[in-house]
Symmetry: C2
DNA sequence: GTGTTAGTGATAATCGTTCTCACTAAGGAC
DNA sequence: GTCCTTAGTGAGAACGATTATCACTAACAC
């Protein structure tokens, strides 16, 4: 049995909001934390298999949906037809810059400020939400030279 | 034959870049212009059928891909599992505010400024692109009262 | 401890999108 | 205008990510 979870039980509880925390969901949360970057559900499922074979991919889909609902996982775009997600424990509003080379992710400040919403309001619209994602290259993916 | 195209041939040429412009692509461009808001490929296909039955949905997918490649059509999110697009003839860099009620779309200024990219650069990342979409309600979808 | 029911895993189903292929016609060369 | 090349077309099959189904198990409120 490969049951050494890096997250405390209380920490995992937070990730899933008030929902039940099963052994599978603990393993899935641990695997997501180890990836530490953008992942598809299939990639996360593969990572999960390494420590706990037998966990079904439907369970990974459900765990990602549950963590998305609480905001502890955020969608960060699409890659080759699959949705990309990243673990996002921080509580404050922010967005993500994703390395298109390796999938690493850093948080960025929200650029949607009052003035933009005011401009939108002038056209008669009420702004209820927004999506912002930046793409780029991390230091190691950008350069030959270092 | 319902062959009264609102777009000039030259205008349609621009939409498709240097590519060949068939009768089907003229009809598709006209239908997209009439929708004047966000649409799924299936919705656009339905609209096309009204004036020219027989145009296959694969042809609509290909036309949307061609217009996306030239920037005359922009992706503006997802609705119920399908990609949303909007006609976007303007040449300057901007983003979109989509009414979640009726699908109407207005352009908005890009909020990703130098300072945000500088902050990203400080973390070691080079920014190569970004996606920004705002969601909200247009005047008629927002209020009972008017 | 018990009971309720959310979560699980295998599998099938869904469905948006892409591919295949034989055919047609756009448009450049002359 | 005619010819040629080949991009575009339409029908249908194929693909594949995601979701639904269902009998079973276990989380956790009491
Ligand atoms: Mn984050
Ligand atoms: Mn636009
Ligand atoms: Zn990288
Ligand atoms: Zn509206």
């Amino acid at each position: 049995m490969a049951t050494s979870h890096t997250q405390s039980t209380a920490g995992v509880r937070d990730l899933y909001g008030g929902r039940r925390v099963s052994a599978a969901r603990r393993t899935i949360a641990d695997a997501a934390a180890l990836i530490r970057g953008a992942f598809t559900v299939e990639q996360l499922h593969d990572a999960v298999q390494l420590s706990e074979p037998g966990i079904g991919i439907a369970t990974v889909y459900r765990a990602v949906a549950a963590m998305s609902a609480t905001g502890s996982v955020a969608p960060v775009g699409y890659r080759a037809g699959s949705a990309l997600y990243a673990l996002c424990p921080g509580g404050t509003h922010h967005h993500h810059l994703v390395c298109t080379g390796c999938g690493s992710v850093v948080g960025i400040a929200c650029p949607v400020d009052r003035s933009l919403e005011d401009a939108a309001r002038k056209t008669g619209y009420t702004v209820t939400g927004h999506e912002v994602t930046l793409y780029g290259l991390c230091r190691s993916c950008a350069g030959e030279c270092d």
